[in-house]
Symmetry: D2
Subunit: 380 residues, 4 copies
């Protein structure tokens, strides 16, 4: 009988619970352990989800020889330290993004990862929507020729008011950059993956819309939540709420994108428009099941997520028939299916973001911050 892989999740927040639920959907993988600072919380989750182990210590988890894979779903400030520990303990690792707090840390992690024979991934999940994969295949196979121009952005509204506060606004917990690092990095990863090319030059103009924000005194609040009735203090904000970036890719292709966490009504609006020599591909994460295909001399197309109509690898990401829409949880499932397939078949081509991608994306963020402060083009 085929060996069942046994996996653990570190963390119990939004992301950790999404990982845990998704793990349960992956055939051939056992969700086996959870770690929380509070043993009680870990035990309760373990009971509800029928996990074999509950821990309050990462070291204890890593000492368990039965655990093969670790999902690092901790706050950003712990990513570096834990990713390092996990790799050194000889476990495969799927880390939430960013890989670390700065690119020196991520460079070190990449070194360790490369010198191991472990599988390492970073949760740039948007690659794994069926329609994004379909776009990638069409670009890679040059179905519409070379790219002419790229544009897009990633817009949200959860920081719209100065009464919105989260730990992500604290550089010590989140890193120096906010909108660019949190969401801009997703856009860069997705588009680089689509084009099979890296962004090598950037020119940025970032904005802090609220130079001070009202921080609740008691708790830093969680992302995507705004508790308005608590006592607050005014804190200075030094990370960007929004920004505009010109980019150039390896082969000279030009593009631009913007990020915003202050655009009312856009909740998670990652979108791109890729002009190719003989067609345009346009996609919006808020309508994830369709790909708009622009044509010059014939009708434009709306390709819907339908395994019968997609390319092979995209079709593999479409688990239900046409018209049975899939969403964000299924995109995460596709990421995990790719990640675990790689663990089982190390020699197969895979499409998830590795620590190499995670490190490069951190370097892009660094270059964007520098470009913004020096007001000039910056090489990544």
């Amino acid at each position: 009988m085929k060996k069942m892989l046994r996996s653990a999740v570190i963390g119990t927040g939004f992301s950790a619970m999404a990982h845990l639920e998704t793990l349960k959907r992956i055939p051939g993988v056992e969700a086996a352990a959870i770690v929380s600072r509070s043993y009680e919380k870990a035990a309760s989750i373990a009971s509800e989800y029928r996990l074999a182990y509950a821990y309050s210590s990462v070291d204890d988890l890593l000492a368990n020889p039965e655990i093969d894979v670790i999902h690092n779903c901790t706050p950003n400030s712990l990513h570096y330290e834990l990713n390092k520990k996990i790799l050194l303990a000889g476990k495969h690792v799927l880390s939430e993004k960013p890989l670390a707090l700065n690119s020196e840390q991520s460079a070190e992690l990449l070194e360790i990862a490369k010198s191991s024979n472990l599988v390492h991934g970073v949760c740039f999940n948007y690659r794994h929507y069926p329609m994004v994969e379909e776009a990638r295949v069409r670009i890679t196979e040059q179905l519409s020729g070379k790219p002419n121009l790229i544009s897009g952005g990633y817009l949200q509204d959860w920081c719209l008011y100065d009464s919105d506060y989260s730990w992500r606004m604290d550089p010590e917990l989140n890193g120096q950059s906010r909108a660019i690092a949190d969401i801009g990095s997703h856009w860069c990863d997705t588009v680089q993956h689509l084009l099979g090319q890296r962004i090598t030059r950037v020119m940025a103009d970032l904005a802090i819309i609220h130079p001070t924000r009202k921080k609740p005194l008691e708790s830093a609040g969680s992302t995507f939540t705004n508790e308005s009735t608590q006592p607050i203090e005014s804190v200075k904000i030094e990370s960007e709420d929004a920004g505009n970036v010109l980019v150039q890719f390896e082969d000279g292709t030009k593009g631009m994108f913007n990020v915003s966490q202050v655009t009312a009504g856009k909740k998670n609006n990652l979108h791109f428009t890729i002009s190719l020599a003989d067609g345009t591909l346009e996609w919006d994460q808020e309508e994830p099941n369709r790909l708009w295909i622009g044509k010059r001399n014939e009708a434009n197309q709306l390709l819907m997520k339908d395994p019968a109509l997609l390319s092979n690898t995209a079709s593999d990401y479409a688990h239900f028939p046409g018209g049975h829409q899939e969403g964000w949880p299924d995109c995460l499932k596709n990421l995990m299916l790719s990640f675990y397939k790689k663990i089982k078949h190390l020699d197969q081509e895979s499409y998830f973001a590795t620590f190499e991608d995670g490190h490069y994306n951190m370097k892009i963020v660094d270059a964007i911050l520098r470009s913004n402060s020096e007001e000039r083009w910056m090489d990544v």
Copy 2:
């Protein structure tokens, strides 16, 4: 510690596998058993999904006292017999629709169900989209007043060509009605649930677009698949491909809907437009995360699935933040969350379709068939 409910799935087709995967996502429930005609297949699935039991006999399953709940995901022709067995074995049951092959059978099942204290459900899943629940709440709470007019339909294209064939075209396996029973019943269930009113009168005009179809000699093919290179025989088709129906509800409200399995490009297009005294609610299953709200004296609205913006019960169905779209698998998850919540808290209000609804929907199908053949209004 809270008792974990233990569940079994009968069947291994599309619907059964969707149930199994979804069961893994329900906290507090153990997916514990699977039944297939082939023990090998059952054992293989049990291994991949870590189920405690694999069976090749429903009777053996029902004899297992550790199993609390049965998901009946068998072909239509087995629904009646198995639903009856399950209830008589004292297990809770969630049956795929239709409840039985005709309304005499479903009436009997309803009698048995009512005289038990078991929880019984039928998979009219479309009730469980967050935006459908939001529409229900707004109608129930009369936020825009009483209904003026209802319309909509359920359109697919998998029977478009006469080379499309499936067991669903065989009345012995599927029942007499196809498009009305398979998809029209979903429309009727969803809209009745939304209005809190039953359809009491119908006037139908049905159509068989392909009076003969090419049936593969070797296998009946599975729904949603068309294998075109096999030897075929021509078979006469007696179930409707499409149809138009006028309906009247308990309180006299008038409506119409159509069904079609021959409308190219519509894959699973269940949609409704409900005109109310002071607003209109419009929804399309192929864009499930949005509800269009029409207004006379102000801008129309596009309400997106966002737990922060929805009513309480609809918000419970939205598991991820705004912009993180959910889809068909999550709708099925919501159905199961409702169903298992009812088992754990028998006294709580629940919104899933029971055998009572399942039986009534079969009576509507009967009335539609009769109306069509007699060319006159028919009471349900």
Copy 3:
């Protein structure tokens, strides 16, 4: 030099002013006269629009030998009498719909028209959108085969509240039917034109949502306006606000449509979905520049109004390049271009609705009213 045709408009309401402005856009045609009950009003309009003549009497207008063509834009109750006079005076006529108040009158008009060699048209304008014409060509040329099923409707909201009142609610001024005659007739005309087939059987279920309405004492108000601060009287309403209709076409094709003037947020929502043997055509008058083309085995298409992408006759209706959207006024312009082209070239094929179509559409309305009251299928 080519003879310039000289045209007159009878009326000064919404429709008359739209005709007048459109006439100014037609090369080779001189907008030459206007008739109003008030000579002052006629003279003022003639001055603003540089018309040669202003009249307060239709008879005076008809006595002017220089006038070739009359646009009858009077209230419904005058259509019959004036259309008859115009024809008997030997002038070409373009009449607002309905052709008359009942089908006896329209039959008489048709007789007179046929025995003349005058050009006669009725303003069923929706035929003349480029994307509607494109759909017609594709159906006529059987690009996607024969029709399987038709559906659609025509929804508005200007009668939503019982405080909405207009002369159209008075059967003496408007005729017996309101929603069906006013807007349902447009749907029937458009779809019959598209299919090149008549509706021969109907089964209707109509609804009066507000059995009484509040009529302003001083003025009947104009359509599309609601003045709320005037003294009112309660009047009984006997014409339908909404309704659902099953239809059958000459060749047996089945369809359904609904009409409503009480559907909030739908302003002028004439739409249709035509399922054909190998493709679906869907259009919505509120997004008139696009035609959705559904496909089974490839991506669906969104064909935009673009002369470079349309069939010949549709391309003639698209006066501006792709992306330069045209609208309702341009649709009326296309109707007039067709109508005047026919006058200049009597032998050419034309696509506007003649008195023959206008009369047949009145018979459909009659059949729908009868079907509704007798609750059975009715031949047209």
Copy 4:
């Protein structure tokens, strides 16, 4: 009786004919003259459109004292010379854009215009869509607070292939910049008008996708047409096909836009997203009748062009009831209505682009070209 203004159009191309047709729609204005190099052509158009005069010489036209207003619809290279002549002849002028070939010329024109008491306008028509005006009012009246971030672009596809050629690719006829000057200037004008603020700094990255193009030997071809069967020569292209631009406004608000004439399927896609303190306004010229209004704490809105739902000045631009869509020709009509209203009532506020705006937009184009070549931020 009120004096009728008498107007002339110079030119007979696409733009000239659009002006002429639109002039016929403006009450109180007489389309009185046309100028073509070919007198025959002028005479033929004058006859079809019932114009009093036909000319083959601009000087002859300008010598006619009955003509009050001149529409300059000539190729770009003639704009400066003719605009100057027109002003010096004491006629009001509405010039097609760009105002001149460079900003020295446009500065001179502005000086002349300011020292006259003539009305001067430039055809930045997109300001005049009802939904754009609605957006302007909402921003000006601070209905959703101050702007946070701006983005958008203007995408077309008529230069997609290297076999596409037009006089616009010849710097001597079109000026140095193509995509930025032709369409980018429209974006800049529209957004500046919306915000009531000028773009004061730019940072650009432009692209020539086809460094050589195939020019037909016989004729330069007309814009938007591609005749492919003619003998061709290869010509070097020095004007940009596409480009990305960061912008900053007077008050420091940041934005970005791109232009492209090589984006397949986008025909005339001018669009913007304006993030404000408490709402977002998004509009797309290819769906001109709707304005998307994003909200943080309630449903997003889709405001449709409907005089009953718009602000006063926007409502004046909506000539037909809700659901009766208007388009590009009506937008041009609104521009002319504004322009002629100004001539009749010099003291009234007006919203069309004057020579001052036209000159400033040329300076933006200059700054963008310089920024691109020097790879740095440039003040306008």
